[in-house]
């Protein structure tokens, strides 16, 4: 077999000072895998939404066409994409090693994310005030839980950013901090992607 060559003069049995893998690439791969599992989580929620978004799931209450507001959703989309753009500027500053630049980017990113969440809370509260809370029908359950799960991810992202705002000045750009900043970028872009899917599927297609 090709893999079973006989030992020769050059055969090594041990590999002293083997460097092994590099920690940042392992963490990045690990984070990609985590996002894969997160993507499946959202897949499950989209599945439930798709199954329940019909008159039977709505049990006499409204379905998507009657409650979604694509225009408001568009402002939310702008906010989330703006937040991602601000974070990208932070990573550009990271390349230059500028602490102030990174932190400024993160702060703007947080602010825009808060705008996004503000719209979302307003939207959901409004529905509840009209008596369309998550406990009124299968469809509304799926709608609220899908939106709120995404919102919770955004909240955790904000929390993570706040921690980074503390870590950057105290720990500097250590390998750990840089790895976290890079993973956070992926996380943030991923959440924006999920939002775009939500927007397209729930707000745009749902409006018709």
């Amino acid at each position: 077999m090709a893999t079973q060559a006989a030992p020769g003069a050059g055969t090594r049995l041990f590999h002293p000072h083997f460097e092994g893998h590099d920690q940042i690439s392992a963490r990045t791969l690990g984070f990609w895998l985590y996002m894969l599992s997160d993507a499946l989580l959202f897949t499950g929620l989209f599945l439930a939404y798709a199954v329940l978004n019909n008159p039977m799931g709505a049990a006499g209450g409204p379905i998507a066409t009657q409650i979604v507001n694509p225009v408001e959703g568009m402002w939310q989309t702008y906010a989330v994409l703006g937040s991602v753009a601000a974070y990208s500027l932070a990573t550009v500053a990271l390349k230059k090693g500028s602490m102030v630049g990174v932190m400024a980017g993160i702060v703007i990113s947080i602010l825009l994310a808060l705008v996004f969440l503000g719209y979302e809370v307003h939207d959901l509260m409004g529905l509840m005030a009209q008596g369309h809370g998550p406990d009124s029908s299968g469809f509304l359950s799926a709608f609220f839980v899908l939106i709120a799960t995404h919102g919770l991810h955004m909240v955790f992202g904000i929390l993570w950013m706040i921690v980074m705002l503390v870590q950057i000045p105290t720990l500097g750009f250590s390998p750990n901090v840089v790895a976290r900043l890079l993973n956070l970028r992926m996380f943030w872009q991923f959440q924006a992607t999920v939002w775009v899917l939500v927007y397209v599927y729930v707000y745009m297609i749902g409006a018709f």
């Binding site: 439930a48 998550p134 029908s137």
Partner: protein, 687 residues
């Protein structure tokens, strides 16, 4: 928005009242007494021998993959025993409660278990066996073996590895707690819907079931990430993909399944939780809820989960059969391809669990054919093992016997699975004990593989062999018991006995039920021999060579037994697929590295176990609706994670002289040896 619940509730204790403690039930009081006694003895022994510090420093805070694996296996064995007792209780109830004239004791009309209690027993049995016994046992084995088999020092994320262990343990503790505080779900391990909804299961049972699974499956998901990264990134130099041992391959595929399937379980349980806690209507019987949504989502996880269990078992067979046939594995490439084929198909067959639930002929047809496709790669595997055995120099050690018995179980389980995959047959035997017998052949195959693996790798980890004489008795009694119980069960299935019966209305089934009960007694005998095997081996402790079997083929048997906590003093260079066999063939297997070098190791940390225990209180708070407790725990977990992220965590370094001394006296490097305190590296030294 929180839904109204029946019964009392107070801000301080939630739904918890004194009546939640089943002090009037003699079975549970007895169980509690025994459990408390064991706990006292263990705690007393730890204190008496002054091992508390050792336990904390070397085990509870460890990040060593081998110790974590061993602890997984201990948790798995304890839970295995618990669920076995559940099984024994069910069999005994069915052996007693036959016919309208059968007597009843302990408040039961027939037999000794009232229906509500009986239902909890089977629900706990299934939940535990799948999620808290088989899963941790396999995770434990992969944790111990895979890094050694690929020549790595540890897992890619040692800290996260410990976290996975403690999350799984927290889930297991919750299940155990439900024995003594409150009750467990009585809606089956699959969570029959809408029975699990609040109006029909108003107690805390379903909440125990749901949160225990939820917490432990987060652990499983993290472990899957860890394993995949470890296998992709940490292989020894020279180990290209086509030199990766088959057990590692199956671990990779299984964890890909785990990573993609467990999130769906998480979602479906979370949605059920939303129904129960927030009053939503995902799966309710009215208001737009959809019952089939639950059933589909559960099995979209559930079927891949059964392959999550069986693939590592196949991997274990693929290690053991070549070793004891003294031949390389036949058809390595097809074995790997078959593994991934099975993993892939396992995603497209879930509907075979509910052919009878109203899908049309075309849908049933699709899933029927998809299910039967699994037989092709499985058949490839079976033939590969057979051709490995063919003309091999066979030695029938206990691991080999377990593996061969596993092949028989696979044959029976696989063929009955094929029968079930035909909708026309399925309609007649669905929900009968025929199905139970089918999947028990499969999961007992997994159990056989686990025992095979434990016996096979035990000497590697601890440096002494498990006693073969008692091990053989254990094997024969266990396998004979399996044959007796499940042959009778297949027969009963054909005679129409449905599953989950607390009362047997047809006395004609009595002979078979009593046969099953006799088999259960034989299982008890096997437990005796298992314990005796442990006792004799621990007493005699016959030391072994680095390759205890003399014919092992893979890298883990290259390093010493007991394996030092740093695994390999110097990373080996891989030259062949079966590296050790190749070295032995060329007289190189005794070669040692010429010089030692400093080894960088991660430091222990208490954060994982703290987070694990906080998730236990989080689960407990949620189950009993003690909101302050749940809120506090969640907050504390977040804070612990944040604090940990500030830890610079540079690990420590073993000096070459230290390594040399330990290589000379291996006992000082084994995982049970107590290590001296070592100073962590400073920032300057680390670079």
């Amino acid at each position: 928005m929180q839904v109204a619940i029946q019964g009392p509730w107070s801000p301080l204790l939630g739904r918890l009242t004194l009546s939640a403690i089943p002090y009037t039930n003699p079975i549970l009081v007895g169980t509690f007494a025994v459990a408390a006694l064991i706990a006292l003895v263990v705690a007393g022994a730890v204190l008496y021998y002054k091992k508390l510090g050792y336990l904390w420093r070397e085990w509870l805070t460890t990040v060593d993959h081998k110790k974590i694996g061993v602890m997984y296996i201990i948790v798995g064995l304890v839970m295995f025993f618990r669920a076995f007792v559940d099984g024994l209780m069910m069999r005994t109830q069915q052996a007693m409660a036959i016919g309208p004239h059968s007597p009843g004791v302990l408040g039961a009309q027939h037999g000794y278990l009232p229906p509500f209690h009986f239902d909890q027993v089977y629900s706990a049995h299934g939940t535990i066996m799948i999620l808290f016994a088989a899963t941790p046992l396999l995770t434990g084995l992969t944790n111990v073996v895979v890094p050694l088999q690929i020549g790595a020092r540890d897992m890619a994320f040692p800290y996260m590895n410990a976290l996975s262990l403690w999350l799984t343990t927290a889930g297991a503790i919750l299940v155990m707690l439900s024995l003594f505080v409150g009750d467990f779900s009585s809606a089956g391990w699959v969570g029959l819907i809408p029975l699990t909804e609040l109006p029909y299961s108003p107690g805390v049972g379903v909440d125990y079931w749901m949160w225990a699974i939820q917490i432990s499956s987060i652990g499983t998901t993290l472990n899957a990430i860890n394993m995949i990264v470890t296998i992709i990134k940490m292989r020894a130099p020279g180990m290209g993909w086509f030199r990766v041992p088959v057990f590692t391959w199956t671990t990779l595929s299984t964890n890909i399944i785990g990573l993609t399937a467990f999130p769906i379980l998480g979602v479906v349980l979370a949605l059920l939780g939303a129904d129960r806690y927030l009053g939503t209507h995902f799966f309710t019987a009215g208001n737009g809820g959809n019952l089939m949504l639950y059933t589909n989502m559960f099995w979209i996880w559930g079927h891949p989960e059964v392959y999550f269990l069986v693939l590592p078992a196949f991997g274990i067979f693929s290690e053991i059969i070549p070793t004891f046939s003294e031949k390389p594995l036949f058809g390595y490439t097809t074995m790997v391809a078959a593994t991934f084929a099975i993993a892939g198909i396992s995603w497209a067959v879930w509907l075979h669990h509910f052919f009878t639930m109203g899908a049309g002929a075309d849908v049933n047809g699709f899933f029927s054919i998809a299910t039967m496709l699994v037989g092709i790669p499985t058949g490839v595997k079976v033939f590969n093992w057979m051709f490995t055995l063919y003309r091999g120099r066979l030695t029938f050690t206990t691991p080999m016997l377990w593996a061969l018995a596993g092949l028989f179980l696979l044959l029976v389980g696989g063929i009955t699975g094929m029968m079930l995959a035909i909708p026309a047959i399925n309609y007649t035997v669905h929900n009968s004990v025929f199905v139970i017998a089918h999947f028990h052949c499969m999961v007992l195959l997994v159990a056989a593989a686990i025992f095979a693996g434990v016996v096979y790798w035990f000497p590697k980890v601890f440096g002494f062999q498990l006693d073969e004489k008692n091990g053989l008795m254990f094997f024969w009694s266990f396998i004979t018991a399996t044959a007796i119980v499940f042959t009778a069960m297949f027969a009963l299935g054909f005679q129409g006995e449905t599953r989950r019966l607390d009362y047997i209305f047809n006395p004609a089934w009595r002979p078979m039920l009593w046969t099953e009960e006799a088999g259960m007694m034989l299982y008890l005998v096997s437990i005796f021999y298992f314990l005796r095997m442990l006792y004799v081996s621990l007493r005699d402790r016959v030391p072994v060579a680095s390759d205890p079997w003399g014919t092992a083929r893979t890298l883990e048997f290259l390093t010493h037994s007991p394996v030092p906590f740093y695994n390999f003093a110097v990373t080996p260079q891989v030259n062949a697929r079966d590296e050790l066999a190749w070295r032995r063939e060329h007289g190189l297997d005794k070669a040692q590295p010429e010089a030692f070098e400093p080894i960088h190791m991660p430091s222990n940390t208490g954060v994982p176990i703290i987070i694990g225990m906080l998730s236990l209180t989080l689960g407990f708070g949620l189950i009993w609706r003690i909101w302050w407790m749940a809120g506090f725990s969640l907050l504390a977990i977040i804070i612990a994670v944040i604090i940990r992220s500030f830890d610079k965590n540079l690990g420590y370094e073993l000096k070459p002289e230290e390594v040399a001394a330990m290589e000379r006296n291996l006992a000082t490097a084994s995982i049970i040896a107590e290590q001296p305190a070592r100073t962590p590296l400073t920032e300057a030294e680390a670079h």
